[in-house]
């Protein structure tokens, strides 16, 4: 049994130069977490920060904290060549819980999600069915966080509904 919850979270997209100490320090100061520079990993404190690419990250946080975090990032990274964008309106966050999740996702995702390969704290952008997704293994329980573009979310939920016997719930973080 897989439990699927739609979580109301906020999202910030961040671009910058990982090789610049000022950037990493600024991010750490603003968000209170270490900039994940290892590919396909995330770091976590009160919020999660996903590595998306060599110069791109996504912060997932409580929606109501987003304005504050945006401000903190802007202040900490002022004078640097960065790009900080609120994407909260454009992303839908799902939490999938249960031991069968890797198997469920394997129906329509080409990633190897075997726990020996994709462990807690790992993340990857890939395709799930015909939508692009960001998948993070966020809790050993296991819980997987799936972030999808808002416009694809109804399609993805339909896919999940058809491919698993799960209960959809909503929850606020």
């Amino acid at each position: 049994m897989t439990e699927v919850k739609r979580i109301d979270l906020g999202h910030i997209n961040l671009r910058g130069d990982a090789g610049d100490d000022r950037f990493a320090d600024g991010v750490e100061a603003a968000l209170g977490l270490t900039l994940p520079v290892d590919p396909n990993t995330l770091s976590e404190s009160d919020h999660r920060m996903y590595w998306l690419g060599p110069d791109e990250w996504q912060v997932v946080a409580d929606r109501k904290n987003v304005p504050v975090l945006l401000k903190k990032l802007e202040d900490a990274l002022v004078d640097q060549h960065v790009s900080i964008n609120d994407l909260s309106g454009g992303q839908v966050t799902l939490h999938l819980a249960g031991a069968d999740v890797p198997e469920l996702l394997a129906k329509a995702c080409t990633l190897d999600l075997h726990p020996s390969v994709f462990g807690v704290g790992d993340c990857a952008q890939s395709g799930l069915a015909k939508a692009n997704v960001l998948i993070g293994y966020i809790d050993v329980a296991p819980v997987y966080e799936i972030i999808v573009r808002r416009s694809f979310s109804e399609y993805l939920l339909r896919w999940l509904r058809q491919n698993s016997h799960f209960q959809v719930g909503t929850a606020s973080s």
């Binding site: 590919p39 396909n40 998306l52 060599p54 080409t110 990857a124 952008q125 890939s126 395709g127 692009n132």
Partner: protein, 92 residues
Amino acid sequence: MLLISCPYCGARAETEFSYGGEAGIERPKDPHALSDAEWADYLFMRKNPRGLHTELWIHAQGCRRWFKVERDTVSYKITSSRELSLGASEKE
């Protein structure tokens, strides 16, 4: 289906990538100094070799980075996969 090694994200299925054609096609610095034939050569002519081919791919479903792949067009074996910056000097 190819298994392509993104220099940033690692080996992923071909479905995550898009093809960008021959690598190393440099945009002329001053297009208007070129004859029509020279411009057409830049626009349209490609090597299309039988054998090793250096080509561009983008990890479209992943990190959205372009990179350079050396692939055998007969066996489809990929012999290298590198960040663009690492191979810049080899531009032909």
